[in-house]
Symmetry: C2
């Protein structure tokens, strides 16, 4: 196993215009919460709320590209979105290996995304398998 | 609440070249499992394995665009990937409202994605809030 319990990782992600527009182009989610500033403000937000699943795309990059081995696959993941993400938010991502099952080559990684105010905008865990 | 326990929904999604290339363009996950046919075959798969988080993008579309109200937000979600998805797989998506909490305006939706052979390639649940 190339991971050990307690290993931790830090990355930084920005929900740029390109990421936002690219996500909408690929998946077609134009819900007004994400695309209509006035609608979102009317619902009590500060502006258009970015799609939570953009953060799942960042998780894909983290697992596929940032771990010490490329021989990994995602078995499953869960995520909660306690606070909104807005356009151009810079998100500090922290992840820690919380469990390892050497025998079956499985690791659990817990993660958090925080905005520049230190608020947790998403947290959860990913189960990965070693290939 | 515009949803009731037992309400169910069906959609169909295809992991086209455009979706696959668009996801990689937006998020940059070029892990060889997803991009190197021979690597993936060497690991026991039939070809390049599509990113699991492409399916989370389809979930975004489902919640944002396919429910009977647009006044919804995802609070959290979980997903497991028991079988691989390959390029151009057509996925049958089924979702059912499994719990409703009227008082707090929250619904739990359980979902499955199946490939054309009827195999479940992903399943999980989404918690949504009414805005």
């Amino acid at each position: 196993m190339i991971l050990s319990k307690g290993d931790n990782f830090k990355e930084s992600f920005i929900v740029t215009d390109d990421v936002y527009n690219g996500f909408i182009h690929v998946f077609g989610d134009r819900n007004p919460l994400h695309t209509d500033e006035q609608f979102a403000i009317g619902k009590g937000f500060s502006g258009k709320v970015m799609h939570g699943n953009i953060l799942n795309g960042f998780l894909s990059y983290f697992v596929g590209e940032c771990l010490p081995s490329k021989d990994v696959i995602i078995h499953g993941q869960e995520i909660k979105f306690p606070n909104p993400v807005y356009m151009n938010d810079r998100l500090a991502f922290e992840a820690v290996v919380s469990e390892i099952s050497e025998a079956v080559g499985v690791a659990i990684i817990k993660f958090k995304f925080r905005n520049i105010f230190g608020k947790i905008v998403a947290k959860g865990e990913i189960q990965i398998g070693m290939l």
